[in-house]
């Protein structure tokens, strides 16, 4: 079913909206949540919470991209749960993803505290626009979907080592870009 038809089901308050959404994107959302939480049960609950949020949000909202809209809700819910769950420390792809970016972008000066997430997102988007499509996919797959390097390598048709190498270079470029944009000191 097309995304627009699923959105219409939400507007019609049909419960088929959820089942159609789950049939089309459920596997993706479960993998996204599981990448972050490393727990099938927690992932299931987060996906269901995100579906409920979607049900409450549409209408009145009419997302241009249903997959990204619900995916963002799944990601937010998963990260919120992850942060609350200290027992998960150092036990997921997401931990490793965030550690590698924090290590690289760590700054002794805290000027970036004034930078809001939305502002930083806009700068990251501008940075991504300077990159090749493959590099954008690599970056998003790692830091949005929290995919493993092995999965990313398979997707892009490169070795796991080369996926690591490319992303290491991107992190370095991002750091330079953030400094140029005065987001980082």
């Amino acid at each position: 079913m097309e995304d627009a038809q699923i959105v219409e089901l939400f507007f019609a308050r049909s419960e088929d909206a959820i089942s159609e959404l789950d049939q089309k994107y459920g596997k993706l959302y479960h993998k996204l949540a599981d990448n972050i939480l490393k727990s099938a049960q927690d992932a299931e609950e987060c996906v269901n919470d995100a579906y409920l949020s979607t049900w409450n949000a549409i209408p009145p909202q009419r997302p241009e991209s249903l997959s990204a809209f619900v995916g963002t809700l799944v990601r937010r819910c998963s990260i919120t749960r992850y942060r609350a769950n200290t027992a998960m420390k150092r036990n997921s792809h997401y931990d490793v993803c965030m550690e590698e970016i924090e290590e690289f972008l760590a700054s002794p000066r805290r000027t970036e505290e004034h930078c809001e997430a939305k502002e930083l997102a806009a700068v990251i988007e501008c940075f991504l626009d300077t990159q090749s499509k493959e590099n954008r996919v690599l970056f998003m797959r790692r830091y949005w979907y929290a995919d493993s390097y092995a999965d990313i390598g398979r997707l892009l048709g490169i070795t796991e080592s080369n996926a690591r190498l490319r992303l290491m270079r991107m992190r370095k470029q991002l750091k330079t870009y953030l400094i140029e944009q005065e987001v980082m000191a």
Binding site: I79, K133, L178
Partner: protein, 233 residues
Amino acid sequence: MTAKLFSDAMNEIGAKYVEEALYYERPKKRSFFAETAKRAAAVLLAASLLFAAFTAASPDARASLIHWIETWTGSQVSYQYAGDAPADKLPFYTLTALPDGYALNAEMSYEDSGFRQLCYESSDDLIIFSCIYMQDNAFSYYDMGEDTEIFEVTVNGCKGKLFLPSDPTLWSTLEWIDEKSNLHFSLDACGDREAMLRLAESAAITERPADFPQPEEKEPTSMNDITGEKVEP
């Protein structure tokens, strides 16, 4: 920059980037690599069957004549070795002609009784140099990626293969087998054919650095340690 801020910012990233990563499909092309791999797989299947019959009939002879089987499936190549365990410690092979700015990083390196991987680090890149002793139950495995050309090469008189990706910014892999010392070497680095060969040919036995940790008491890498698709001959 904190991980939390970065993570929150990623939540605000526009849908077009999320969708682009979701629906990405690699350009489809039939590479030289895929064709070669297909042919090689057929040949090696026959070689594997021959090997199985041979080792069953004459287990003593196998170590002196056949030390490895190379098997291809798609873009993956695996090596299964045969032979006795090393009598002595592995000789300490290092790269003696490193590009400027590279230094051995002992913490990122690894060693056990039959395998050593040295990691050389520069400010923004790595070179990985490995050698494995070809012995029973030892195994190595590479996923080469698909857009890769293969060249037959010779490194210090030893036959080997160079896997050169079409994107020059990616790592190339050069692997070669020294039958006399029963070692299989591999080198991962950025560089063209000449640079890779120059680097590989600089491999030489040197003294073990005093600060390099002693090898772990571990069995050699076996089939069971490998995650992913297992290749059956």
